[in-house]
């Protein structure tokens, strides 16, 4: 509450000179736009002006634009990025606003959890970004009605989904929808986590355990991916992740593997978790959650008014009210544990439960590997998915070679 009062007081002082801040992000789907609107509303209420700089596409499209603008001396007021190594070089070059003072004053280290997110924002003891939500990519979404109409019990895990595929295909339904590009990489990582386990995933991605990457545990993963690509008809692959989710919502596809941000799309479509659709963390194999998410960085500005507005925005983003409003729309988990989430849907509650236990939580891929290597892995997996002549063994070796060459 004191934060809110402080923000209100600040707004009283500065409202005469509303500062415009351009905010770049890649939240353009239905649920995401609704969530961004909450940020914009709250920021405008501080007496400043949120200038929306949405970049259509995905992080892969937006990231180069954002980084080239900051490097090129044309920085935005604030920008979304993923926690991890993406901005490390920009911070080292002194291009990012130091938020340490604000973070200490508002005690982010205590009110925000899990610790890994704040660690990702902290470099040499200084805080450079504000985490706004927690996302996990390890979810399978299924349309219950599609399965029931086909006389099949809705699957509770990945293997059951695969088993149901032939029957659905015969009825002209896409058993597993997929989007072009990074969702292929996400599916790969989810299957690694499900089939090789969290510990082995971290040991390869973080500790570069090469015996593991080339070993039988990962061979099992590539066999599972091989199964998945056999049931996916290339004609049904769509350009964007939300198109793939939409296929499930419309009942044209039975299942999709996507992060919890897909929950926002189901909510916008008015579907109820547990009744109309199922959400299965860890693909139903083992309930686990990655601690991905979104953070906001503030490129350094010469103009003290801009800096002031940036700090006001950072402070606004972690207030209780904004955290709840934003995350409910986004389908993600709030950074604060002290907020009222009675309005949360079943999927979010499942996520919170896993998060509170804390044992099955692991770091996000971008916290362990650099973006260049992650993109190379995506390239390999994209090819593996679309070209059935590539054997799982070849793909596994290509994957291992990238991990081996990745900078520490």
């Amino acid at each position: 509450m004191t934060t809110l009062l402080a923000a209100t007081a600040l707004c009283g002082a500065t409202s005469a000179f509303a500062t415009e801040l351009e905010v770049t992000h890649w939240w353009t789907s239905g649920g995401e736009s609704a969530a961004v609107a909450e940020f914009a509303k709250a920021f405008d209420a501080t007496g400043n002006k949120w200038v929306d700089g949405a970049i259509a596409g995905s992080g892969d499209v937006a990231r180069p634009i954002i980084i080239s603008r900051i490097l090129g001396g044309n920085p935005m007021g604030a920008t979304q990025l993923n926690p991890g190594k993406d901005a490390d070089d920009l911070i080292a070059a002194g291009l990012m606003q130091d938020l340490t003072e604000l973070a200490t004053a508002e005690d982010w280290a205590t009110i925000l959890r899990p610790k890994s997110q704040m660690d990702s924002c902290t470099l040499d003891g200084k805080v450079y970004c504000v985490p706004v939500n927690l996302h996990s990519g390890q979810w399978m979404w299924t349309n219950r009605k599609v399965y029931e109409d086909a006389g099949i019990a809705p699957p509770t895990n990945w293997a059951e989904m695969i088993a149901a595929a032939p029957a659905l295909k015969a009825k002209g339904i896409i058993p597993l929808s997929l989007a072009e590009g990074w969702p292929v990489g996400l599916l790969t990582e989810d299957l690694i986590v499900a089939y090789a386990g969290v510990d082995n995933y971290v040991s390869v991605y973080k500790d570069r355990n090469m015996d593991m990457a080339r070993g039988p545990e990962f061979a099992a993963v590539f066999a599972a991916i091989d199964q998945a690509r056999q049931i996916i008809d290339p004609k049904t692959v769509v350009p964007q992740w939300n198109d793939a989710v939409a296929l499930v919502i419309q009942g044209k596809a039975a299942a999709n593997v996507m992060g919890d941000w897909a929950g926002g799309e189901f909510a916008v479509a008015g579907m109820v978790a547990g009744k109309d659709f199922d959400c299965l963390p860890g693909l139903g194999v083992e309930p686990v959650l990655g601690t991905g998410g979104d953070v906001f960085y503030f490129p350094k500005s010469e103009d003290p008014e801009v800096t002031k507005a940036q700090l006001a925005m950072a402070s606004m983003m972690v207030t209780k009210e904004v955290q709840v409003a934003f995350n409910l729309k986004k389908g993600s988990l709030p950074m604060r544990s002290d907020v009222d989430l009675s309005a949360a849907n079943d999927c979010m509650k499942k996520g919170l439960e896993i998060l509170d236990k804390g044992t099955k939580v692991f770091p996000n891929n971008s916290q362990m590997l650099d973006r260049d290597s992650l993109n190379q892995i995506n390239d390999v997996m994209k090819e593996f998915f679309s070209d059935l002549t590539i054997t799982p063994e070849v793909a596994q070796e290509q994957f291992a070679a990238i991990i081996e060459a990745a900078p520490k």
């Binding site: 990231r63 634009i65 980084i67 072009e180 290339p234 004609k235 049904t236 650099d370 260049d372 390239d379």
Partner: protein, 300 residues
């Protein structure tokens, strides 16, 4: 007695040319040299400028070894060759044929010219999106024909990894042929009517007049068109992005997509290495042409 210093001869014109000389040296040659030099380093996000930094980050040919071991890059280069040859070739043929048809003193020429030139007014992004819808098997051409009754009809190039690059050629031609036509038409109109009368008197058929007299006479126009079209095909980026996103898989990737991605996701040197390769390839094609074309004139 005092011979004037040759440096100060034509001083005014040298002064006038100095901004241009400065731009050429710094912007073109300087940046090119920097790009090539940085491709031998291991830099990631931030550019470097001092010799010491270059020395510290020097890795020799590593970036090139990685580049040519990357399947995506090999696909990209192959695709560029396919696109460049087919797009340039067909743009010439279609553009010329359209221009010849236009040249037959038809009625309402202005209307047809506008129609053919119109696609050129659209950006590559719009072109790509429109063709992505037309070619999408789920709701485009294939579905429409099937709904009309031809149920075995199949046109799935967009989602077929062996054919996807050809959809880019189709969309590119739809967009670019009109411009080639307009330029060719201007070239055709520049041919003196006397030539036509003379060939008619000699009884030469019309097609032979076009092929053996008019086309050789249009050489300067042809070269201009070639430079515009060929350089446009090397730069192709947004069309692929909007049409196929480089997919399925990486099957329709082009070099500019690889370069752009690497430059700004923390593999700067890999990006400059790839652009150096493109630069070299372009130079290998352009330098012989420059020598032939401009070398001749200086001897006159």
């Amino acid at each position: 007695m005092n011979r004037p210093n040759p440096l100060f001869r034509n001083l005014t014109s040298k002064l006038a040319a100095s901004p241009m000389i400065f731009i050429v040296l710094v912007v073109f040659i300087g940046s090119t040299a920097w790009t090539v030099a940085s491709s031998f380093t291991s830099i990631k996000t931030l550019p470097i400028f001092t010799p010491q930094e270059f020395y510290d980050n020097w890795v020799g040919w590593d970036q090139y070894v990685r580049l040519w071991n990357t399947p995506r890059w090999i696909t990209s280069i192959t695709n560029l060759a396919i696109y460049g040859v087919l797009f340039t070739g067909f743009a010439f043929i279609i553009g010329f044929l359209l221009a010849v048809l236009m040249d037959q003193k038809i009625r309402a020429e202005g209307v047809f010219r506008t129609i053919y030139l119109y696609p050129f007014a659209l950006s590559f992004i719009v072109t790509g999106k429109v063709w992505a819808w037309i070619l999408n098997p789920a709701f485009g051409l294939e579905k429409t024909v099937r709904d009309l009754g031809w149920t075995s009809f199949s046109f799935d190039w967009l989602t077929n990894r062996d054919m996807s690059i050809y959809t880019v050629v189709i969309a590119g031609l739809w967009q670019g042929s009109g411009l080639v036509m307009a330029l060719m038409l201007a070239g055709l109109r520049g041919i003196d009517d006397e030539i036509w009368r003379a060939s008619r008197v000699d009884g030469i058929p019309k097609w032979r007049t076009y092929l053996q007299i008019v086309i050789p006479m249009m050489r300067p126009v042809m070269i201009t068109i070639f430079v515009i079209v060929a350089s446009g095909s090397v730069r192709v980026y947004d069309l692929v992005l909007a049409l196929t996103q480089g997919g399925p898989g990486n099957s329709s990737q082009v070099p500019s997509m690889y370069i752009y991605e690497k430059l700004f996701v923390g593999a700067l040197a890999q990006g400059t290495a790839a652009s150096s390769v493109l630069l070299l390839a372009t130079a290998i094609i352009l330098i012989p042409w420059i020598v032939v074309e401009f070398g001749k004139k200086s001897r006159v």
